[in-house]
């Protein structure tokens, strides 16, 4: 820290250069500001090893005494968390975020000093997180329980050799409707929009994120939902803002928490696991119908990753490995209600007496209708459509 003219050499992808350059100059500015305040020594002490390149890597040594996990809210069975501390020692600190963007922003701002060991981003975000140096490579030798995972859910397009990530859980998007109010059978996203404009007008909820809302339009039309074609996006904007927004009562990504048990809405876009929990919580479960709609829908997958600069890499590997034992896979499956990517899980869950398994396990034909999101340059337009639709629904 004392020699501020030491050159800094960074190997990075072309597209990452402007971001890195800007962040470094900002960081240098912060460093000067701190120096002016007499806090240089303190700042240096807070930066582990003085930079991201020398962050500790796991080699199979002794476990550290603690572990910090930054993940989605309520995403791990408490028995798994307490079991890890009981059997292997490290105390776990859990913190949660509600969107990938929030996670990424925090990691970027911290520059490897976030203090988080394990993070659980959705697959589509992983390539750019790697490019921006936010994730550190996994040591596969420390993850022998990978053999318990179903190969179908490993080696996905965003990280083909699982160098940085391992499946934590995956799910899909469908909808739930109130059979008392909607007496016909709904099976497609087209039906969803039709019911929203008719029987369920003013009692329809859609998820509160751009992907689900904009996805639903393209899924209904059976076209590529990752399109960057401005005409298609404009058609989508017109339809959602002008035709659909006036009928929407709420933007709620988790209707299973309140809306289904309290009977607030008649038609709700929902993730499969959330819909399942909501219907199980409902005083009148027979009233609700879950639909995995055609002609296509989404597949998303959240993944165990280790943050760059993780202070406890050994414990982090141990925890990921611990979560992949057959017993813990089953505990997590039962707790969150999403497929956790393990082998032969359906049989194990059935033997365990779990209910509503058709919300979690899907046939090969159903899996073929599920497509993953891609993060591309149309993201700004998508966020703008989402904003505009929300504003139009309130007007």
């Amino acid at each position: 820290m004392s020699d501020s003219h030491r050159p800094l050499r960074i190997l990075a992808h072309d597209s990452a250069v402007p971001v890195i350059a800007r962040e470094i100059s900002r960081r240098r500015f912060l460093g000067f500001a701190a120096a002016a305040a007499g806090g240089t020594a303190l700042l240096a002490a807070c930066t582990p090893g003085g930079g991201t390149s020398s962050a500790p890597q796991a080699t199979g040594g002794a476990l550290e005494s603690s572990l910090s996990i930054y993940t989605w809210g309520d995403y791990d069975a408490p028995e798994v968390i307490s079991g890890f501390t009981r059997e292997l020692g490290p105390k776990i600190t859990l913190d949660s975020y509600s969107s990938n963007e929030e996670l990424v922003a925090k990691l970027i701002a911290a520059k490897g000093t976030s203090g988080f060991d394990i993070v659980v981003p959705t697959g589509v975000f992983i390539p750019q997180m790697i490019e921006n140096g936010l994730l550190s490579k996994l040591n596969r030798d420390l993850l022998p329980n990978l053999s318990n995972m179903d190969p179908v859910y490993l080696g996905r397009s965003w990280d083909p050799s699982n160098d940085y990530s391992v499946c934590k859980a995956w799910g899909t998007t469908g909808f739930v409707y109130d059979k008392n109010l909607i007496t016909r059978e709904l099976t497609t996203w087209g039906d969803f929009f039709d019911a929203a404009q008719n029987e369920a007008s003013g009692k329809t909820a859609m998820s509160d994120d751009p992907a689900g809302i904009i996805g639903a339009y393209f899924w209904a039309n059976d076209t590529d939902w990752n399109t960057e074609d401005p005409d298609q996006l404009e058609a989508c904007r017109k339809f959602l803002v002008e035709e659909i927004a006036p009928h929407i009562a709420a933007f709620d990504s988790y209707p299973g928490t309140n809306a289904i048990p309290q009977g607030t809405q008649a038609l709700m876009q929902a993730w499969n696991g959330d819909a399942r929990l909501g219907i199980m919580e409902s005083p009148d479960p027979d009233r609700w119908q879950w639909v995995l709609p055609g002609p296509q829908t989404e597949l998303w997958m959240d993944n165990w990753c280790i943050a760059e600069g993780a202070p406890h890499p050994e414990a982090a590997h141990a925890f990921i490995n611990f979560s992949m034992t057959p017993e813990n896979l089953l505990l997590n499956l039962d707790y969150i209600g999403y497929h956790v990517g393990g082998k032969d899980l359906e049989q194990a869950a059935a033997d365990d007496g779990m209910e509503l398994l058709d919300f979690i396990f899907f046939t090969d034909e159903q899996l073929e209708t599920m497509h993953e999101q891609e993060l591309n340059d149309s993201q700004t337009t998508r966020v703008a459509i989402w904003n505009e639709m929300k504003a139009a629904a309130g007007a």
């Binding site: 971001v19 929030e102 994120d209 751009p210 607030t264 966020v383 904003n387 504003a391 139009a392 309130g394």
Partner: protein
């Protein structure tokens, strides 16, 4: 002179606090608002400065939300005043002084609970399958489930409940400070209860009324918890727009521009309200000012044309 500078030194912590935790953050927000969002993973950049974010923030899309917010803010503040003023009046004049401490404590008790938890409590109460809905249906008042949650009315209910104590307390203090002497004098001079309230008590407690209205209106305009929990899509407020720009869209530039516009809207509304009040009060002010001129005839306190000659503007 030394005494005065010693007094000023006492204010240094407050000024430092304001500078570090208010002036600097607001200055940063204003600075961000002239920038833009660079790429998917960037939140803000300021190498090109423009007013484009303000044009975006004031586009018809978001303008509708600003109008919604202003409507909720004004109606909510008026409701708080209409409910809070009688309560404060009763506490200040009608209750035995020994009981007042207890009443103030009762007004404050809801503040012991977290704001979010209190609001979620209302969500549970007014849900279509909540107990209020069930009770109203079994009492025969409602035919179907209660259709209140996720409407603008629900947001109004929520903000009125959440901000009411902030109206009652300053009003109570102001009423209390008017004291019995002037009210009794007014009564002795022949004014009725209503006249005494509007001509003596209310004008003298004006600072309390202004404090209460500001304490309710300003945080209410920026509130986003109540609207998120109770408002659904129909009760959208600007606070939610700002929050979603910072959190989900990660567009700090646009979020900052919206926040600045919200501040301006609040300042402008308060300015307009002050002007309206001043204009409304103008005729009353001149009517209550009596000039005893050298003119013939007894001084008359009458109204109408007779008074016009002796009233100064």
């Amino acid at each position: 002179m030394p005494r005065r500078s010693a007094g000023a030194a006492l204010a240094v912590p407050a000024w430092a606090w304001l500078a570090v935790f208010f002036v600097a953050p607001v200055a940063m927000v204003v600075w961000f608002s002239f920038g833009y969002k660079p790429g998917i993973f960037g939140t803000h950049a300021n190498d090109i400065l423009s007013l484009d974010r303000y044009i975006e923030a004031l586009s018809p899309t978001f303008f509708a939300t600003f109008l919604n917010t202003l409507w909720v803010g004004v109606v909510g503040t008026v409701l708080c005043f209409l409910i809070g003023a009688p309560v404060a009046y009763w506490m200040a004049f009608k209750v035995r002084p020994q009981r007042r401490g207890l009443l103030i404590a009762l007004v404050l008790i809801p503040f012991w609970t977290n704001f979010l938890v209190r609001t979620i409590g209302w969500q549970v109460i007014i849900a279509p399958e909540g107990w209020l809905s069930t009770a109203l249906q079994s009492a025969g008042i409602l035919n179907g489930p209660l259709d209140l949650l996720y409407t603008r009315a629900a947001v109004l209910l929520g903000v009125t409940y959440n901000y009411l104590p902030l109206m009652i307390l300053p009003l109570f203090v102001a009423f209390d400070r008017v004291g019995p002497a002037l009210r009794e004098a007014s009564k002795d001079l022949g004014a009725g209860k209503v006249t005494t309230f509007f001509r003596v008590t209310l004008p003298l407690s004006r600072p309390g009324v202004i404090a209460g209205v500001l304490l309710v209106f300003i945080p209410l305009m920026g509130d986003y918890i109540t609207a998120t929990v109770l408002g659904g899509a129909k009760g959208n407020m600007v606070g939610q727009l700002v929050a979603s720009q910072f959190q989900t869209a990660q567009n700090w530039a646009l979020g900052s521009a919206m926040a600045v516009v919200l501040m301006l809207v609040i300042a402008l509304s308060i300015g307009v309200a002050a002007l309206l009040l001043w204009l409304v009060a103008l005729p009353f002010r001149s009517r209550t000012r009596l000039v005893l001129g050298p003119a013939a005839g007894g001084p008359s306190t009458g109204s109408g044309t007779g008074a016009a000659t002796e009233v100064s503007a």
